[in-house]
Amino acid sequence: MTKQYEFPSKGLPYLLVLPQMAVVFVFFFWPAAQAVYQSFFVQDPFGFSLIFVGFENYTKLFADPAYWDSFGVSTVFALSVAFSSMFIALFLAVQANRKMRFSSFYKTMLIWPYAVATMVAGVLWLFMFNPNVGVIAWFLAKVLGIKWNHLLDSGQALLLVSIAASWKQIAYNFVFFLAGLQAVPATLVEAAAIDGAGPGKRFWAIIFPLLSPTTFYLLVMNLVYGFFETFPIIHQVTAGGPGTSTNVLVYKVWRDGVINLDLGSSAAQSVVLMILVIGLTVVQFRFIERKVNY
């Protein structure tokens, strides 16, 4: 490859990246550094004194069953949201990706819930399942004889937040799967059909493998969503409860920092989460770059 033309200016590029670098440093690196720094101290809630404790916040954190419990809840939650919303989205994308009546109507309707805020998704499902006013809670109790109260039943609480989080995420996954399906060459699929492969075989042997880059990308994005971006649903629907049954990691960081004012532990938790996300970003980025350079 020949070297690309580049502008010869020396100072200008620094001026151009300055605003971006300024926000990145002030609102990412500085807070991140502070989190790391603070995670080595314990501070009284009023901020009068700081005592250096080394790795004690971390050792305490990893020795705390509540933290591992939160890790477990987050993992179950994130995995079930990722798998159910990806599975449903792929299924619907396959259905919508054919020549038929109303197909553009269906597509539009499946795309726009992306615009609904995560928090609003929480409110919508909360309203249907509210034990006092919820239509579905009423239906479950009166018609099916199932007593619904997610404020008391931990299984129901986790189920409700998972449904709300998946409902919102289907649109995002649908957009990507549909784009992926449209990129599958029709000739390949037709050739397989002529060779006698049925629809199921065609999907699993040809279409699904061709979608694997999309699937991998979505898996990482959905895990990031499930682990970190679902705070609004937890906060609005269950507040981490009942007990600690929906106390996911980001909710715990918030609760320990804002409500319990345990800043050292909250900082240590933030550092662990940042390392997790940055790890996922690097994996994702290497993958994307490799694909681009084909």
């Binding site: 991140a32 259905q95 795309i111 970190f228």
Partner: protein
């Protein structure tokens, strides 16, 4: 294709129709509740057809807000709008400049800048809330629009998208403009940015929705009603015992909070879809 039985043609409609119901039903209920009185909503089972209090409810939500809130949907909508526009426009401008520098110039710290920016690619604000809160509080930006907007324009998605696009622009154009005596900035403003229209539109849709739908950050830094966004107002109205909640006002506000981003997606669906899937490529 190969199979033509009636059943095979009907099934997709059945599945997709079912999906429509699951998408529409929750929103329909919100609409119904926003046209009813508190008493009607609290009488189990709640009615599932609209009532007659639509004007009264939306009027109250828009101009007064619920009794336990102290902020009208008008104020909150204004705040959500300022935040969403600030984030969308701010991020696009800052990212265009940064991507321009990284792609079109050779400078010593290029690699360093690149990684410093890209490490934040997927970093949600949720994982860095407490330290960022402290920074904003040290800068005196609690309860301000700057505080709501600035920390949200960090992530690198827009730089990433513009960088991808810029790399596909033929370099001969840049070289030619240089030979013609145009400055790099003239090339940027008169040639490059107009060429980037489509990705810019796509980014605008994505970032506007991202900004409008922010929750945790405004929850942390807005304690004055004057700066509440719609989502914060909804949360505040819902905190309290079930019987005291004015569901009809809450639901009217929920609908008002959903309409603008849904309209943006509906109007710019094509740009939005290409924008989303291009970040992946």
């Amino acid at each position: 294709m190969t199979e033509h039985s009636k059943m095979r043609r009907f099934l997709p409609h059945l599945f997709l129709g079912l999906a429509m119901v699951v998408i529409i039903f929750p929103i329909w209920l919100v609409f119904v509740a926003s046209t009813r009185t508190s008493a009607e909503i609290l009488s189990a089972p709640m009615p599932v057809v609209p009532g007659s209090h639509i004007i009264e409810n939306y009027g109250r939500a828009f101009f007064e807000g619920a009794k336990n809130l102290g902020a009208s949907a008008f104020t909150m909508m204004k705040n959500s709008f300022i935040m969403a526009m600030g984030i969308a426009v701010g991020k696009i401008v800052v990212s265009l400049l940064a991507a321009f520098a990284i792609v079109f110039f050779d400078f010593r710290l290029r690699k360093f800048c690149f990684w410093a920016i890209f490490i934040t690619l997927m970093l949600p604000v949720e994982v860095r809330i407490m330290p960022t809160y402290k920074v904003i509080s040290d800068l005196g930006m609690l309860n301000s629009y700057w505080g709501l907007i600035l920390p949200m324009i960090v992530s690198a998605t827009a730089v990433f998208l513009f960088r991808q696009f810029f790399m596909s622009v033929p370099r001969e154009i840049a070289e030619a403009s240089q030979i013609d005596g145009a400055s790099p900035m003239a090339f940027f403003a008169e040639i490059l940015v107009p060429m980037t229209r489509t990705p810019i539109a796509a980014m605008f849709v994505i970032q506007f929705i991202y900004g409008w739908n922010q929750y945790l950050w405004p929850l942390l830094i807005t304690t004055k009603e004057k700066y509440y966004t719609l989502l914060i107002g909804i949360n505040r109205m819902l905190s309290g015992a079930d019987v005291q909640i004015e569901w009809q006002i809450v639901m009217a506000t929920v609908l008002l909070a959903m309409i603008p981003p849904v309209i943006v997606v509906a109007v710019m669906q094509k740009q939005f879809v290409t924008g989303m899937t291009d970040t992946e490529k």
